[in-house]
């Protein structure tokens, strides 16, 4: 009753005014032009301003509510077109989704003025009905009036900027992209899963806002299957109320980006993967996108296993072997436990990585394998850590038995602690990330485009592969019998392993030049100071007896001086480093042939000319790329072949993780480099994705030669 009274009051007040205020929504009729000419098209706007937390509804209100309706009363010679609805907000929860406007909205309606319209003042009237809801709902309505001058000269209205702003929030035409929809499988009861896929620009969270229908309902919940590389795929459940399963489903393809929301109006034919719009713009077919999960899990496991043999991981592995030699003759239960703890360290690290990947994707960005190396501070931290491990192996200092943070080598002399085994696992994982092994690229490329549980599962499978040899050896230490008995050789071996570790540190130091350029030299100086401090610590604090206090003071002075005087004052290690300029793109190109920077246009141009195209996706931090792919491309036989075929060679530099290249990698279901593509001379054929190389020089030359031959067949 109270509502009714309010409503009556509103109707009374609202009659024939330009604006009306109900309980929680103010409605106003605005026009884009103050004066229009005969034959013009004018935009009318219904400006609804809602109180905080109140909302009105989109043309499909969703599970509850009703769309706002308009009824026009127009003078002869003026016709109203259909309502143009700005992109709404999707209001949770999933099982009761509504599509609404909060705060304010301008519903746009084109008014067409006939060429015969006479000059004068035209009264534009509209009756608006809406439902406004917060917790409870209140119906609202208003009769709104505006006058439009018809004259010889156009004159914009003061509301013109508002129109411009709201026109930007209308969905765009789907001719800008290619979309498909397909029933995934037969219905279960009245529910049937529909997979919607489209390709388009932008990075963010994809969604589909359906238009309403009496016969079926596209439910609110969205399962995001893929959102990378300009390819978006999601699963919606369709509930059928009556009739056949719909052959056409209309709605908005939506992409929520960090800066706003983009939407495309589309009609999806739910025939199996039929293109619905602009088929000429279909991107080249990427590799098959659906792989059975078991196969990918197997790949992930094998990839993890092979990672053990990668140069990034080898030093840690050698240390692990040492640990086994020492422990093999002690309590077997303890050895087994160490094996499991090591595996746990690997697993926890991989799941943390998966967590980072998921978080990065949830934030609307793309994630990639090895992307942490595009973070300057991470690289600096890792350089320092690996240097310390190397010094520890050299015996410069011990890790206190009480605090086994750097347990790798120190524990070999003492008891192999659980913390040490765990840390070993963590270190192995961190050092493994700049390498990708065969199988791993395909597996991770698959994983990165999957829902959260699958990402976790895939990373766990890689972890299982990486840890498997130690778990097995810890159960069967007898298999290590071929190794000599523990003795003095272990100390020598330990020191010897310090050198590959030092080489790793040097490689990491070199990586920091990506971010700091010549200033990286100061990091080297800092490492020297830190080494000196480590030596003083080991010799005079840990092993010395006299003057311990003085030694501690000197260590602190060295470290503080190094940190503040060098890392802070010279390296500016915390400041966000200069981003890459395009001029450096070719820095990592193989030698011996004319390589150009990669771009989709460059590929298209070369293919149009009928030339085969080679694309080398590489990065400075990618060990496999630089040890295997680049030398293979630079080898005499491959260069000659490239010249003979008049091939176009393009290099895509992934060092700083540019979005465009992440997108292109994702199109081929890869999450990182290396990736080599060879586009055949026949431009109708899809590119060949070359297998992943082992990170050892020369192994890749026959692979390249074979693929180049196929490209011109």
């Amino acid at each position: 009753m109270r509502c009714l009274l309010k409503l009556l009051a509103v109707l009374f007040l609202g009659c024939f005014t330009a604006s009306a205020l109900t309980a929680h929504t103010q409605a106003k009729l605005i026009l884009s032009l103050q004066t229009a000419r005969a034959g013009d098209s004018v935009l009318a706007g219904i400006h609804l301003q809602m109180e905080p937390a109140w909302h009105t509804y989109w043309k499909n209100s969703g599970a509850s509510g009703i769309p706002t309706t308009l009824a026009w009363t127009l003078p002869a010679g003026i016709k109203a077109g259909p309502v143009q609805w700005p992109v709404p907000e999707k209001l949770p929860p999933d099982d009761f989704t509504t599509y609404v406007y909060q705060n304010e909205v301008v519903l746009l309606v084109p008014l067409q003025i006939s060429p015969e319209a006479k000059a004068g003042v035209a009264g534009i009237k509209v009756h608006v009905e809406w439902l406004e809801c917060k917790e409870a709902c209140v119906p609202g309505s208003a009769d709104l009036l505006a006058s439009l001058n018809l004259g010889a000269e156009q004159a914009a209205s003061p509301d013109a900027p508002l129109f411009a702003a709201w026109q930007k929030r209308l969905p765009e035409s789907s001719s800008k992209l290619v979309a498909h929809a397909a029933w995934e499988k037969p219905a279960v009861g009245d529910l049937r899963p529909l997979v919607i896929e489209w390709s388009g620009a932008g990075i963010g969270e994809p969604d589909f806002y359906p238009l309403g229908s009496d016969a079926f309902e596209v439910q609110g919940e969205t399962e995001r299957l893929l959102s990378s590389g300009g390819l978006f795929r999601l699963r919606k459940q369709v509930k059928r109320f009556s009739g056949d399963w719909p052959a056409k489903i209309s709605g908005l393809l939506v992409l929520k980006t960090p800066t706003g929301i983009v939407a495309y109006e589309t009609d999806l034919s739910s025939a199996p993967l039929a293109p619905v719009a602009n088929p000429s713009a279909t991107p080249e077919p990427a590799v098959s996108l659906t792989q059975p999960l078991w196969k990918m899990l197997l790949y992930a496991f094998l990839g993890g296993l092979i990672l053990n043999a990668m140069p990034c991981v080898l030093p840690v592995i050698a240390l692990k072997i040492l640990g086994f030699v020492r422990e093999a003759r002690s309590d077997p239960r303890h050895v087994r436990k160490l094996g499991w703890v090591y595996a746990l360290g690997v697993l926890v690290s991989f799941l943390s990585l998966a967590g980072v990947v998921i978080a990065v994707q949830a934030a609307g960005h793309k994630a990639g394998w090895g992307m942490q190396f595009s973070n300057a501070q991470f690289t600096v931290g890792l350089t320092v850590l690996v240097t310390l491990v190397a010094l520890n192996l050299f015996g410069l200092f011990e890790v206190n038995p009480g605090s086994r943070v750097l347990g790798t080598a120190g524990n070999l002399a003492a008891q192999s602690g659980l913390a040490g085994a765990f840390f070993n696992g963590v270190l192995a994982t961190i050092l493994a990330t700049p390498c990708t092994a065969p199988f791993l690229g395909a597996a991770l490329g698959f994983a990165f485009a999957q829902p959260v549980p699958i990402i976790l599962l895939m990373f766990a499978a890689v972890a299982a592969g990486l840890a498997a040899p130690y778990v097995v050896l810890s159960w069967k230490p007898a298999w290590l019998r071929f190794l000599p008995k523990p003795g003095a050789w272990m100390e020598h071996f330990k020191i010897a392993m310090g050198f590959p570790m030092l080489a790793t540190a040097l490689w990491l130091l070199n990586l920091t030049t990506i971010h700091y350029g010549d200033r990286s030299w100061w990091l080297g100086i800092f490492l020297v100071m830190m080494s000196a401090a480590a030596w003083i610590w080991g010799t005079f604090v840990q092993r010395g007896s006299a003057q311990r206090g003085l030694a501690v003071v000197i260590v602190i002075l060295f470290m503080a001086g190094g940190y503040f005087g060098i890392l802070e004052a010279q390296l500016h290690w915390r400041s966000s480093p200069d981003s890459a300029s395009d001029t450096r793109v070719l820095a990592h190109a193989p030698e011996g042939y004319a390589w150009s920077p990669w771009s989709p246009e460059a590929v298209a141009k070369a293919r149009a000319e009928g030339r085969p195209v080679v694309v080398d996706f590489t990065a400075k931090w990618c060990l496999t790329c630089n040890l295997s792919v680049a030398p293979a491309f630079a080898s005499k036989s491959v260069v000659e072949q490239l010249q003979k075929l008049n091939a176009v060679a393009l290099v895509a530099d992934y060092t700083l993780y540019p979005a465009q290249i992440t997108a292109e990698l994702a199109r081929f279901q890869r999450s990182g480099v290396p990736l080599v593509l060879i586009y055949p001379r026949d431009s109708a054929k899809p590119p060949e994705v070359l297998p992943e190389p082992l990170p050892y020089p020369a192994s890749y030359i026959p692979v390249l030669l074979g693929a180049l031959e196929r490209a011109v067949r």
């Binding site: 509502c3 009714l4 599970a63 509850s64 509510g65 009703i66 099982d95 009761f96 009905e129 439902l131 809801c133 917790e135 409870a136 709902c137 209140v138 119906p139 309505s141 279960v188 009861g189 009245d190 529910l191 899963p193 009496d214 309902e217 699963r235 459940q237 059928r240 109320f241 009556s242 999960l293 078991w294 549980p453 699958i454």
Partner: protein, 196 residues
């Protein structure tokens, strides 16, 4: 594996959201009405039962009540031996919640003709039947199977005269009484959220 996960998720979804599946036995429930009587669905075996998710503060329900159309339909059905159970699942913290005392006053003031108004403020019955909106309607056939689920009519509006609309519930009940098959057995319910 993925398929399995999807299947499990789908089944879970089906299990929760569509407990009242057309053609399947209607799940039994026991509730208390605003006069303190115990209402058990099984007690009405052999009769057609209409469940109405109700909340008179919802503008859609309010319009059906204000115009008297809903009361007329209730009266018409009761006269034909149909059981009409209003199920009010609004939680007690919501301003639209009615204590039994308030509900009895409203019953008199609005001249309701239902068989009973069940106080379902726990939401148990509403969730059991997957009632989505007010007014979401369920029709249970005399044999105890769900015959209809969805909107009251084809006119989702808080204004105007509901008598001009196509009333799906009347159609379903009429067809059941005539021993015919229910032609439209499922529609999309409209209205307000239930406020569980």
């Amino acid at each position: 594996m993925k398929q399995l996960l999807t299947l499990v998720a789908t089944l879970a979804l089906v299990g929760t959201a569509f407990a009242a599946e057309i053609g399947k036995p209607a799940p039994d429930f026991t509730g208390t009405d605003i006069r303190g009587r115990t209402i058990k669905l099984a007690d009405f075996k052999g009769r057609i039962v209409v469940l109405e998710a109700s909340n008179s503060d919802c503008p859609f329900c309010a319009n059906h009540l204000k115009t008297g159309a809903l009361q007329e339909l209730q009266k018409e059905f009761i006269a034909k031996g149909v059981v009409w159970l209003m199920v009010n699942s609004v939680n007690p913290r919501n301003s639209s919640h009615r204590t039994p005392e308030q509900a009895r006053a409203e019953w008199d003031q609005k001249k309701l003709n239902a068989t009973a108004w069940i106080d379902d403020s726990s939401g148990a019955i509403g969730k059991l039947y997957g009632l989505k909106t007010t007014p979401h309607m369920i029709v249970i056939a005399a044999d105890g199977t769900v015959a209809y689920s969805g909107a009251l009519d084809d006119r989702p509006a808080p204004f105007g005269d509901p008598r001009t609309a196509r009333n799906y519930v009347r159609e379903a009940v009429t067809q059941l009484l005539a021993g015919q098959r229910v032609l439209v057995s499922q529609t999309k319910p409209y209205g307000c959220a239930v406020h569980y």
